[in-house]
């Protein structure tokens, strides 16, 4: 009878006290308010930050206008993001003809898929996808973007612009400058005098001139030296200039990594009968590149941001196209919105690269892996 009672006969064991070391509350207690002095400092700093950030948040978010299509829709005191949304198409595609913008979309989608595939370690067939990304994709992207084949309308590179142009320049720059930089770094450490001299001269020349000069030379001076009937595309010239310029920086970053690898690694490879390229590719570079990932990504980020310098040779990248919009008679006076948006776009890409590099560094850290 007793065991079928509706009431418990014994006390429940006491429950564990709520864990106060976890969650936001716990984190605050552990890091910001763990003592009288720290509490005071935290309050002061938080107040100061709020005081600084509040007007900015008010302007960008709380008092801002997001919806509409003309400047008449901007009635608040804050930012007028309508300016951005009204021009969004041109910010992304530049002067690319509207009817052909689906081609750009396909290239964007392919690029995103390839980057994701290569960046996510779990996905298989890395080697083949990587090979396609380096060999197949540029050809496909070129055919799609430039047109002129398979009945696609020809779009000259001077019509390219906006985010699309920025990504084209940055991608070609990044993909081109890394291998070239590796070769230059190896060349600079070579025992062969000719190879060494060529590498040193190349690196010191390109590193010694400002990027603006390089672009200007590529755009204005080069056509003066080649025969009139030979026409290099202006974008192509700029791309080569950017690639050479950044490969010189890359070479020095990578050389730092090469120098950090002890002589013993190379000797062990030699003693096992491995040839120069095998030792370099299988033993030295995997270790050296891993060491200088922060430097390499640093260079990538600098490269990405400096794509906006193509403005001076008349190419309209993301920043330039936004600036061009500022002179639109219907939209005068929205330069702050324009620059803030441009900054945000650049920041998103650069921050993504930075985070990914940190992730890769942790993943490749074999020396303490347990």
């Amino acid at each position: 009878m007793n065991d079928q009672s509706a009431y418990r006969t014994e006390m429940l064991p006491p429950r564990q006290a709520p864990d106060q070391r976890r969650g936001i509350g716990g984190w605050l207690r552990a890091n910001l308010f763990n003592g009288p002095i720290n509490s005071v400092v935290s309050v002061v700093v938080i107040t100061f930050l709020a005081w600084c950030l509040w007007p900015f948040l008010k302007w960008t978010l709380f008092d801002a206008d997001f919806l509409g299509s003309t400047r008449a829709d901007c009635t608040g005191d804050g930012a007028c993001w309508v300016f951005i949304s009204a021009r969004f198409e041109s910010i992304v595609y530049g002067f690319y003809p509207e009817a052909a913008r689906w081609r750009v979309d396909i290239v964007f989608a392919m690029m995103a898929a390839l980057v994701a595939w290569l960046a996510i370690p779990r996905l298989p067939y890395k080697r083949w996808v990587g090979l396609f990304a380096l060999v197949g994709f540029p050809v496909v992207a070129w055919i799609l973007l430039s047109g002129g084949y398979f009945g696609l309308e020809y779009v000259p590179t001077r019509a390219w612009g906006g985010l699309m142009l920025t990504l084209v320049i940055a991608t070609v720059g990044i993909v081109g400058s890394l291998p070239l930089g590796v070769l230059l770094a190896l060349g600079r450490r070579s025992k062969m005098p000719f190879v060494k001299a060529v590498s040193v001269i190349f690196i010191e020349f390109w590193r010694g001139v400002p990027l603006i000069t390089v672009l200007f030379m590529a755009s204005v001076m080069l056509p003066l030296f080649v025969p009139g009937n030979v026409e290099f595309d202006k974008l192509l010239r700029a791309l080569i200039g950017i690639m050479f310029f950044w490969s010189a920086y890359m070479a020095e970053v990578i050389r730092g990594g090469l120098q950090a690898i002890g002589k013993g690694q190379n000797e062990a490879g030699q003693a096992l009968g491995l040839g120069y390229w095998q030792r370099t590719g299988l033993i030295i570079l995997p270790q050296a590149l891993k060491l200088v990932i922060p430097g390499i990504v640093n260079t990538f980020i600098a490269l990405f941001k400096d794509t906006s310098l193509v403005l001076i040779i008349g190419l309209f990248d993301l920043l330039a196209i936004i600036r061009a919009g500022l002179t639109d008679a219907n939209w005068l006076g929205f330069s702050t919105e324009g620059y803030v948006f441009a900054a945000l776009m650049f920041w998103v890409f650069c921050f993504a690269m930075s985070r990914y590099s940190q992730y890769i560094e942790r993943r490749l850290n074999t020396s303490y892996r347990t």
Binding site: G264, A268, Q270, L272, L274, Q287, K290, T366, S367
Partner: protein, 259 residues
């Protein structure tokens, strides 16, 4: 070569030499590191090279697989004469395994990958076959259970045993040991020496630069004493330790044995 000679007396003069070094001279700038070295090593012979630091003993064995280039003299390994030709050098290196003082394992590869790398890229073996060979030798140095770990996770003694297995995977004719126990903690020296002693008993041709005189007494056919780039004295271990002829050898022995 006749098998009876190889297994019992190991008489140097009977066999076709594995390594022949004639009048070897080497300079680092003005510094004369190796002076007129003549050395013949028979197949299956085990040689211990000792001497004070800076005497050129490491340099000598590093010349045998051309980690160091010599300026004068001739080196012949397993019938192949050393030239400047990189193809020829790599051919010699395939016959010569080397173990370093600081192990020089590849830290970005697992133990197993360390052992397979040169089999796959130099000997062009399929991966499965390379791994089979790797496990065979890792088993012999009793470290097969650590095959999937990275070198950084192993102790010094374990790393050095892996390094020995890695060299053996290439099935070399000669093994060079460059102070293999000098960088180890005392309690790990034995596990590495045991592997080396076992290897010696299996008839591997070995040249060991080492200060382990116990090892020299146990397995060496010949002990070579070097000083200032020259071979001062060479003799079987019993004669070398009991009746050293030169004063410098006596001094050296009294310093390292006289505790």
């Amino acid at each position: 070569m006749n098998e009876a000679t190889a297994s019992d007396t190991r008489n140097v003069d009977d066999a076709k030499p594995m390594i022949e070094i004639e009048r070897l001279n080497k300079w680092y700038g003005d510094f004369h590191v190796l002076r007129d070295i003549d050395l013949t090593v028979a197949k299956g012979e085990r040689i211990v090279i000792c001497g004070p630091s800076g005497s050129g003993k490491s340099t000598l064995i590093r010349c045998i697989n051309h980690l160091e280039a010599h300026q004068q003299g001739a080196i012949t390994v397993n019938g192949i004469e050393m030239t400047r030709d990189i193809k020829r050098i790599e051919q010699i290196r395939r016959n010569v395994g080397m173990v370093f003082q600081h192990f020089n394992l590849f830290p970005h590869l697992t133990v197993l990958e360390n052992c397979c790398l040169s089999q796959i890229w130099v000997q062009k073996k399929p991966r499965a076959e390379a791994e089979k060979t790797a496990f065979e030798y890792l088993e012999r140095v009793q470290i097969a259970d650590q095959a999937r770990k990275y070198p950084g996770q192993l102790s010094g003694g374990q790393q050095q045993r892996v390094a020995i297995a890695r060299a053996l995977c290439m099935r070399p004719e000669v093994m060079l040991f460059d102070e293999p126990t000098s960088a180890l903690d005392p309690e790990m020296i034995k596990e590495v020496l045991d592997v080396m002693i076992e290897l010696a008993h299996e008839g591997m041709t070995m040249l060991c630069v080492t200060h382990e005189m116990g090892f020299a007494k146990t397995v060496a056919d010949r002990v070579i004493f070097m000083d200032q780039g020259q071979i001062i004295e060479q003799a079987p271990p019993s004669a070398f330790f009991n009746n050293p002829r030169s004063e410098r050898t006596k001094l050296f022995l009294s310093q390292i044995l006289g505790h």
